[in-house]
C-alpha cells in the first residue's frame, strides 16, 4: 500500500475502478481528448440530421468551389459539398474503427484467454493458429478478400470483416501473455478451490484483472484502424469510392492541382484524421496511467 501524501487523495475507501476514474478525470489532456472524440462521434452519427445536402449529388456547375457561405468548406471536383462529406466520411471512418476494434478485441480476448488459461495443448494449437494468421501479408489479403467478398456483403462491412479477420492475432497474444502472468496469482487457485468453474474463473476473475491491458490495446487499435481504413481507401482498396470516408476524400489529393491549388478539398479530412487519431492516443495514454495498478492499489 502506498501511503505517500500524493496518494492519500485517493481515499482507501474507493474501489480500484473508482480510483482509476478519479485519476483519469484529473488528466486534462485526456479529458479534452475525450470531449473532442465524443463531439466528433456525435456529429458524425447525426450527420443526416445536421446537413441537408445530398452527399451523392454531383453538381457539374459547382465543381471545386472555394469555401463560401453556401459551401462552408467548398466543394470537391465533382461539385459535392466538402463539409457534408466530411461529416458522413467521419461516420464511415469511425464506424470502421469502432467495429473492427470491437470484433478484434472480443475475438482476440476470447482466443487469448482460453489459450492462456488452459495452457498445454490448447495453448499450443491456438497460438500456432494465431501465428499463422499474423503471418498473412496484410495488404495482399485485404485486396484478395475484398475482391472475394465484394458483392456478397454490403460496402463498408466487407472492409470491416476483412481487417478484423487479419488483425485479432496481436490482441490474442497480448491477452494470452497477461492471462499467463495473472493466473499465477494465488486468488485464481483460491477461486478454483471453492468450486468456481473455468468459464467463471476466466470471466469473473481473470478478465477484470487484465482489462486495463485490453482497454489500452483497444484505444491503440481504434486509432490504428482509423488510419488503416484511411490508408486503404486512399489506395482505393478500402471502402467503395461511392461511400464517403476520410480516406476516400484524401485520395483526391492525388492530383497535383488539388494538392497545390485546392487545399479545402483535402485539408479538412486530413486534419480530422490527425486530430481524431491524436485524441484517441491521448485518451489511451490517460487510461494507461489511470489503470496502472502500481498507482491505484
Amino acid at each position: 500500500m502506498i501511503n505517500s501524501p500524493k496518494h492519500l487523495k485517493y481515499s482507501k475507501k474507493m474501489s480500484p475502478w473508482a480510483m482509476a476514474r478519479k485519476k483519469f478525470m484529473k488528466n486534462k489532456l485526456a479529458m479534452v481528448s475525450t470531449c473532442f472524440l465524443l463531439f466528433v462521434i456525435v456529429i458524425s452519427f447525426l450527420a443526416p440530421y445536421i446537413t441537408t445536402t445530398d452527399i451523392t449529388r454531383v453538381n457539374i456547375g459547382e465543381t471545386s468551389l472555394p469555401p463560401s457561405s453556401d459551401h462552408w468548406l467548398g466543394t470537391d471536383k465533382s461539385g459535392r459539398d466538402v463539409y457534408t462529406r466530411l461529416l458522413y466520411g467521419g461516420r464511415v471512418s469511425l464506424m470502421v474503427g469502432i467495429s473492427v476494434t470491437f470484433i478484434v478485441i472480443s475475438f482476440g480476448s476470447l482466443i487469448g484467454s482460453i489459450a492462456g488459461y488452459f495452457g498445454g495443448v490448447v495453448d499450443n494449437l491456438l497460438m500456432r493458429f494465431t501465428d499463422f494468421v499474423l503471418n498473412f501479408p496484410f495488404l495482399v489479403f485485404v485486396i484478395v478478400l475484398n475482391a472475394i467478398l465484394f458483392g456478397t456483403v454490403s460496402g463498408v462491412w466487407v472492409l470491416i470483416i476483412v481487417i478484423s479477420l487479419l488483425s485479432w492475432g496481436g490482441t490474442a497474444r497480448i491477452v494470452r501473455s497477461k492471462i499467463l502472468a495473472e493466473k499465477e496469482n494465488e486468488y485464481i487457485i483460491a477461486a478454483q478451490s471453492i468450486g468456481t468453474s473455468s468459464a467463471k474463473v476466466i470471466i469473473r476473475h481473470l478478465l477484470p484483472n487484465v482489462i486495463s491491458a485490453i482497454i489500452v490495446q483497444a484505444t491503440l487499435l481504434f486509432a490504428g484502424m482509423i488510419a488503416v481504413e484511411a490508408a486503404l481507401s486512399y489506395l482505393n482498396f478500402g471502402v467503395p469510392q461511392t461511400v464517403p470516408s476520410w480516406g476516400n476524400m484524401l485520395s483526391s489529393a492525388n492530383e497535383p492541382d488539388v494538392l497545390q491549388g485546392k487545399p479545402w478539398i483535402w485539408i479538412p479530412p486530413a486534419l480530422a484524421l490527425i486530430v481524431t487519431i491524436l485524441s484517441i492516443n491521448f485518451i489511451g495514454e490517460g487510461l494507461k496511467d489511470a489503470l496502472n495498478p502500481k498507482s491505484t492499489r
Binding site: M1, P16, Y187, G195, S198, N209
Partner: protein, 341 residues
C-alpha cells in the same frame, strides 16, 4: 482419535511433473489416512512436495505439466482421482476447502470482500443475493472480524494480512467442509497474528468438527495443534506418528534434525542448528538408496545401495530409515537378520 471414521484415504499417490519430456515425481508413493475431526500436520523443508500433495487432493495441479500418475485418493469412500473437473467443483469449497499461504494475493483485488465470500455460497447453494450477503456478514463475525457490516463492502487492499487470512478462513468454512487443508496459513503473518489465526482454526475444528490438514514449517505449531504428524522429505513420507510420540521419541534422523533446529530460549542464536545441504531437486533425486543420506549424520554404507521402505518402528509409528531393521526391503531383510542371528 483413532476410533473415528476415516475421512480421507490416500494410497500410493504418485504426482509427477513433466520436465523436458520426462516425468519426475514430486509426490512419490505417499499413503496415509485422515480421520474425521483429526488435526494432522505435514512438516518438511521447502520443496518436499507438501503443496503438490495438497493440490493433488484438490485436483488443482497445473494442467499443463502436472499429473497424478498412480494411486488413489478416497474421500468418504468416494474416489476423487477419476472425477471430472465439473464433478470436483461440487467437492471443492463444500466438502474440502483450502486456505493458502499468501493472504495478500489470495483475494481478488477488484472485488469486495463480501462478494468473494458470497461466491462460494452461490457456487454451491441456491441462495438469494440478500441471503448470501447476510450469511457472509455472519461468517465474518464468526471468524472474528469486527464491524463486518462495513468490511463486507471493502476491498482487499483496505485490510491487514491477518484480516485477509480471516476472510480466507470465512470462505473456507462457509459450507462446513469436512476437511480443511491449510497450506502454511500463518507463514506470511507476524507472530502475534499467527497465534490468533491458529486459535481460530482450533476453535473451528472443535466447534464444527472439521478435520484439518495443516502444512507447516513450524514445529512449535505442530506441538500445539496436531493430533498426528507426517514428516515429508523429497516427496516421500519419512516418518509418521502421533504428536506426543514424535516429539518424545523421533526415529528418523531427518525428524531429529528438524526437532533440533527449533530455536530454544536458552540457546544463542549463533548456535542455532540448521540442517546442512538442501533437498535434492526433482531431476537430481537418487534412484536407489535413502534420499536423505547425503545430509544424514548417521548414514552408513547400506544407505547408498538399499532403498528403505516405510515400516512400523513402534506402536502406530512408521519411519523410513535403515537404522531400523523393519525398514529393509524383504530380500535384504532376511540376509541382514540372518547375519545378526
Amino acid at each position: 482419535m483413532k476410533n473415528n471414521k476415516t475421512l480421507l484415504e490416500i494410497k500410493n499417490l504418485h504426482t509427477g511433473f513433466s520436465i523436458n519430456g520426462q516425468i519426475y515425481h514430486a509426490v512419490d508413493d505417499v499413503s496415509f489416512e485422515i480421520q474425521e475431526k483429526e488435526v494432522i500436520c505435514v512438516v518438511g523443508e521447502s520443496g518436499c512436495g507438501k503443496s503438490v500433495m495438497s493440490l493433488s487432493i484438490m485436483q488443482l495441479l497445473p494442467q499443463e505439466n502436472a499429473k497424478i500418475t498412480k494411486g488413489e485418493i478416497r474421500f468418504n469412500g468416494m474416489p476423487l482421482t477419476n472425477k471430472t473437473d465439473k464433478e470436483m467443483n461440487n467437492v471443492r469449497g463444500k466438502e474440502i476447502s483450502m486456505i493458502f499461504q499468501e493472504p495478500m494475493t489470495a483475494l481478488n483485488p477488484v472485488f469486495t470482500i463480501g462478494s468473494q465470500i458470497q461466491e462460494v455460497l452461490h457456487n454451491h447453494l441456491d441462495i438469494s443475493k440478500q441471503a448470501a450477503r447476510k450469511k457472509s456478514i455472519a461468517l465474518m463475525k464468526q471468524v472474528g472480524i469486527s464491524r463486518p457490516e462495513k468490511v463486507v463492502d471493502e476491498y482487499p487492499h483496505q485490510l491487514s494480512g491477518g484480516m485477509r487470512q480471516r476472510v480466507m478462513i470465512a470462505i473456507a468454512i462457509a459450507l462446513n467442509p469436512k476437511l480443511l487443508i491449510a497450506d502454511e496459513p500463518t507463514t506470511a503473518l507476524d507472530v502475534t497474528v499467527q497465534a490468533q489465526i491458529l486459535e481460530l482454526l482450533t476453535s473451528i475444528q472443535q466447534e464444527a468438527n472439521t478435520a484439518i490438514m495443516l502444512i507447516t514449517h513450524d514445529l512449535g505449531v505442530v506441538a500445539e495443534m496436531a493430533d498426528s504428524v507426517m514428516v515429508m522429505y523429497a516427496g516421500q513420507i519419512v516418518e509418521t506418528s502421533t504428536t506426543v510420540e514424535l516429539f518424545s521419541s523421533p526415529k528418523h534422523p531427518y525428524t531429529e534434525a528438524l526437532l533440533h533446529s527449533i530455536p530454544k530460549m536458552e540457546e544463542d542464536v549463533e548456535r542455532l542448528h540448521t540442517i546442512g545441504g538442501i533437498v535434492p531437486s526433482l531431476t537430481s533425486m537418487p534412484q536407489v538408496g535413502c534420499r536423505f543420506r547425503d545430509r544424514c549424520p548417521k548414514a552408513f554404507a547400506d544407505c547408498r545401495s538399499i532403498t528403505p521402505k516405510l515400516a512400523p518402528v513402534g506402536d502406530g509409528h512408521l519411519a523410513r530409515c535403515l537404522l531400523y531393521h523393519s525398514c529393509y526391503p524383504k530380500q535384504h531383510r532376511t540376509a541382514e537378520e540372518g547375519v545378526e542371528k
